[in-house]
Amino acid sequence: MESVVAGVVIAVIKILVILGIVLGVGAYLTWVERKVAAHIQRRPGPMVVGWHGLLQPIADGLKLITKEDLFPRYGNKFLYNLAIVLALVPATLVFAVVPFGPEFELFGYRIKPILTDVNVALLLVFGLGSLAVYAIAIAGWASNSKYPLIGSMRKAGIIISYEVAITFAVMGPLILAGTLSTYEIVQRQIEQNLWYIWVQPIAFVVFLFSLLAETGRVPFDIQEAEAELVTGFTVEYGGMKFGLFPLVEWYVEVLSLSAIAVVLFFGGWSPINIPFMGFVDPLFFLGPFSPYVWFLLKVTVLFLFILWLHWTLPRYRIDQITEIAWKVMLPLALINIVLTAIIAPVVWR
C-alpha cells in the first residue's frame, strides 16, 4: 500500500516537472523563436516589454486571454472545442515516455526520470502522434468555412504521408536496440558505445523531414500559407483557442519529436560518443547533473537547427511535399531497414 502511495506521489511530482517544461518552456520558446528569427533577418525583435522583450510571452498570453469568445455561426460547437482538446492532450502526453536522465536513488526510492517506462513506449509515441491528424481534420471541418477546410485537408494529407515514412525510419534504430522502450534504447546505445546516428544517417534524415512535415515547419508549412490560406485551419479560432494551435504544433510537438530523435539517434543523456570506442564527457565537473545537461543541450541544438531552417528556406508546393514523402522518403526508409538488418550483427557483437 505504501509503495502505491509513494508511486503516485512520485508520478505527480514528475507530471508537475513535465508540465513546467512543456507549458512554461513552450510558452517562452515563442520569445526564443522571435529573437532568433529577428537576428537571422538582422533586426532586434521584441525589445519593448521587459529587458530585451523577456516579458513578451506573458503580454501575448494576457492579450489572448482577454479576447472575445467567438464561434463561427454555421459551425459545430462540440467538434470545434473537441479539436482543441485533441490537439493539446496527445502532443503533451508524448513527454510521458521521454527519458531525461539515468536512474538515481533518493530517500531510498529508486527513481527513473521518465513518467512511464513502458515496453511499448515508441508505439505509444506514434499512436499519440497519429491523433494529431484528428485534431486538424476536425478543426477544419467544424469551422464550416472554406479556408480552414482547405488548410486542414492539406495538413492532414501531409501528416498521413509522412506518418508512413517516420514509422519505417525508426525501425532502423529499433533493430539495433531490440526494444521499444525509450529508456532501454538509450541504455543499449551506452552499452554498445554507439550513437545510432553513426550507422543510421539515412533514417535520421527521413526522421528529420517527417518531423518538419508533421509539425508544419518550413519548408513544409503549406497548411499555413499566409498569403493564400490566411493561416489555414485556425482561421475561425480566436483568442486562447487560436493561441493553442501554434503553441502545440510549433513548440510542444517540435520539442517532443526532437526529444524522441535525441533518444533514438543521439544516445539520450550520454555525452559525446566516439563510435565503438567510448564516451568523452567535457561536462564531467557537473557530476550527477551532467546527463540532464547533455540531454537538454542536444534537444536545444536540434530545436535551434529547426528554427534556423524555418527562417532560411522557402516553401514547397503541396504536390512536391507529398510526392517527396512517397517517392523518396519511403523507398529510402525501406532500403535502410534492409541495410540495418545486414549490419546489425556488427553492432551487437
Binding site: I65, V118, K146, L174, G178, W326, P331
Partner: protein, 123 residues
C-alpha cells in the same frame, strides 16, 4: 501499474485543455455585433452557407495508401524487436516481406497513385 502516471497525466491535461477553452468565455468582453461570427471569406457575402461539401479526391487516395502501409508497419514492429534472436531465418523472411511491400509501392507508383491528383491534369 506502469500506466498510473500516464492516466493521471491524461486527466490533468484534459483538465488544462478545458480550462484553456473556457478562458476567453470567462475573461473576454461580450460585445455582440451582427457580422463578427460570420465565416471568413474575403469580406464578401457567402455564396454557399456550408463549406462541408465534397473536397479534392487526392486526399482520399493518400488515406488509402496510409492504411495499406501502416498495416505493413504494424507487422514489422514486432520483428524489429526480436530480430536479434531470429538469425538468418528472420532476415530472409522479412527480406521477402519488404520485397513484396516494395513491389506494391512500385505498382502504386506505376499506376500514378503517388502523383498529386490535379483535377485538370489531362487538359
Amino acid at each position: 501499474m506502469d500506466y498510473i502516471g500516464f492516466l493521471i497525466f491524461f486527466g490533468v491535461m484534459v483538465g488544462i485543455a478545458l480550462v484553456m477553452i473556457s478562458l476567453n468565455w470567462l475573461f473576454g468582453p461580450r460585445t455582440p455585433q451582427e457580422y463578427e461570427d460570420y465565416p471568413y471569406e474575403c469580406g464578401v457575402p457567402l455564396y454557399d452557407k456550408s463549406a462541408q461539401t465534397t473536397f479534392h479526391q487526392g486526399y482520399y487516395l493518400l488515406g488509402l495508401l496510409l492504411l495499406l502501409f501502416d498495416i505493413e508497419a504494424a507487422f514489422l514492429f514486432p520483428w524489429t524487436v526480436v530480430y536479434r534472436w531470429l538469425g538468418v531465418f528472420g532476415f530472409i523472411e522479412m527480406f521477402l516481406f519488404i520485397l513484396i511491400l516494395t513491389y506494391g509501392l512500385l505498382y502504386a507508383w506505376r499506376k500514378g497513385a503517388l502523383n498529386w491528383q490535379f483535377e485538370m491534369e489531362e487538359v
